[in-house]
Symmetry: C2
């Protein structure tokens, strides 16, 4: 199962939704952390329906309007199964930025410093944003969803620590 399918199925675990609403959900409830676009959502919903993991119904009141998708019992079982499997998969430290860092020595030391300072500012903005978001979300989010945000904050702080150290060392 693709990540996009798992993501959609996971959101539908909460309540039935239509495609447009799903997009908004990602934008407002998992901002910064996850995104998905219409070019994925509709094809994914179609496939999930074909596999019997979601059921679709057109709102009776709106004959040409929204199509609401509801996760089926089989969908819930499958979701839990796949989620567990994926989490078990190997841990990795593989991200784009790591690759970029491997090549950083090919740039000039002034350039490097500028780039790292820019990164630092970006991370500071992100930290401020997450901290604020975290405060307001603390009470209303389910336990582990909040702890996912906490985790994000911790990693951003670590990134800042590393950036400060590296910028300092680059003087």
């Amino acid at each position: 199962m693709s990540l996009a399918k798992l993501a959609v199925l996971g959101v539908l675990m909460e309540k039935p939704m239509h495609g447009y609403e799903l997009k908004q959900y990602f934008e407002t409830r998992m901002p910064v952390f996850w995104m998905i676009n219409y070019g994925s959502i509709y094809p994914v919903l179609k496939k999930l329906k074909e596999e019997g993991l979601v059921a679709a119904r057109r709102e009776v009141s709106e004959p040409r309007g929204k199509i609401v998708y509801e996760i089926t019992e089989e969908g819930r079982r499958e979701f839990r199964k796949i989620l567990k499997e994926r989490i078990k998969k190997e841990v990795h430290v593989r991200d784009e930025f790591t690759l970029h860092l491997f090549f950083l020595d090919y740039l000039g030391s002034e350039e490097i410093k500028d780039l790292l300072i820019q990164k630092k500012q970006g991370n500071e903005r992100l930290l401020a944003h997450l901290t604020e978001k975290g405060e307001t979300l603390k009470k209303i989010l389910p336990r582990h969803r909040f702890s996912a945000i906490e985790r994000g904050i911790m990693h951003v702080k670590t990134e800042l620590e590393w950036l400060n150290k590296t910028i300092g060392g680059a003087v």
Copy 2:
């Protein structure tokens, strides 16, 4: 430019290589941090050649053997330009595991605990591996390539900190 192209070009910045050698380079010099497979390497080399970013020459001694690729001056310029551009791009906290965490509350608390403990063990193994690797690489790697490894270690430690906290809280 795709990540795979940047990765190949970045490795060729060090010295001319043939396809098979490139694969080994990633496996031995950036283990855990980055990987690339033949199905990408050869098509990427072909494209880079067409774009004039690398030059290919067949080893004279081996008429049917290795094709050595060397980065061109234009390739070097382009590599530095693209690397800077990519680093400037927005900071993100988007990874598969984050998405999975958002859905963790749909699993049972025993299952969650088991999964987190498994993750912890995986991260401990990874930390041990990186620490050992880091020790031996410290002297021989260019400055920022080493600091990329340090960064990896810091993030793995943060992950462990978060896992311990979360496992503790889940009791």
